[in-house]
Symmetry: C2
Subunit: 224 residues, 2 copies
């Protein structure tokens, strides 16, 4: 029986969290869940599988077809450009899927429950949250309480990157020996490989590595 | 723009809530969302559509394929008998889908958000909750707070049946003029029509009507 379940997207942050969980809970004590929610960049799913395999963590992919049915979001709907700015009503980026992390963590808890897993680990961060309110500490604390009440089950949500800058996250990855795994991750909002280097997501990642004084293994591999 | 969104399952309680919402928010001010989550009794979806149409409420059916992928539950998995008692680990009925109402309400909120709908209505009740912790008042209050924080959006969850017995719910349906609509609803856990009359769900419904001194229109229609 595993102790912890990591919500693994195939990105830099959740990959770093997978290694954080390996160190915290021990080899053989963690597994990963990845959501196939119709993300426009299917490459993320391949990245998540490779990251989990490299770390020796059993991985389960759970489908969620509901976000695509809700529609209207640039992360899912290929007809909506990512960099079209913010939603006029909400003033949030058009990559905001309302409640996405609430749904991910609730399904993760539903997966953990029959398996007796008491710890969920997520890579969300308040520091670089880009306006996403479901990535904030207060949201996660309240959701944790809702999950405990709603499932009558003592479960804890860990968000080890919550207050870290991207540079600190890179440093943590380095300390945890997770840098090689970051070569398998996916960050670019435009879904291209090698990464476009120009979208906000690529730029945020690049600044993090630059400030930490480390080379991004994803880019290092792509030097021709 | 509607004011309220009713989570409509096609059952007695959510149908009563639809009429509660009609009275509270007014004709033309409500709509319904129904989740197609792989319920083994597809008849529920037909019931929900008929109930919504009769009430003149626009209905959206949203798919959720995740519960079926999680597996191991009698309400979804046709291979598991409903009346096999309780789960050995959790001591909850094997019809308990961990976090089901948390997921339903979170997706309902995600649907409501871009539409500017500020009120969610659910038919869950603490009184007859059959051991389901996600039907309790404390759970809904905490979830409401998580939704408000996680979407940065003032939304209110209404559960008008929360502390009502089944008999009181029947009386409320009568007062609201919802009794005819109850002929279109579905209750039986065994999914048969006319209802089996023997499963816990049929018996609970029958006791409610008996205590309220009213005839269940679902059964009245089935007198041969």
């Amino acid at each position: 029986m595993s102790q912890a379940l990591v919500v693994l997207s195939g990105g830099q942050d959740s990959t770093t969290c997978l290694y954080w969980a390996l160190q915290r809970f021990g080899v053989g004590q963690i597994e990963a869940v990845t959501f196939d929610y119709g993300q426009r960049h299917r490459r993320e799913l391949d990245c998540a599988a490779r990251v989990a395999a490299r770390a020796g963590a059993p991985q389960t992919v759970l489908p969620i077809n509901t976000f695509a049915a809700l529609g209207g979001n640039a992360l899912i709907d290929a007809g909506i450009p990512v960099q079209d700015g913010v939603n006029a009503q909400t003033r949030l980026p058009n990559t905001f899927v309302p409640g996405r992390n609430l749904i991910f963590l609730t399904f993760a808890a539903a997966f953990a429950y029959p398996r007796g897993i008491r710890h969920l680990v997520t890579g969300v961060a308040q520091t670089d949250y880009s306006g996403y309110p479901d990535c904030r500490q207060a949201t996660l604390q309240t959701l944790e309480q809702a999950l405990r009440l709603g499932m009558e089950y003592e479960i804890t949500i860990h968000a080890p990157l919550m207050f870290k800058s991207k540079a600190d996250t890179v440093r943590l990855a380095s300390e945890l020996g997770a840098l090689p795994a970051l070569a398998d991750t996916h960050t670019c909002y435009n879904g291209v490989y090698p990464p476009c280097g120009e979208c906000p997501s690529c730029q945020l990642r690049a600044r993090g590595f630059a400030e930490a004084g480390l080379v991004d293994p994803l880019l290092a591999l792509n030097v021709v």
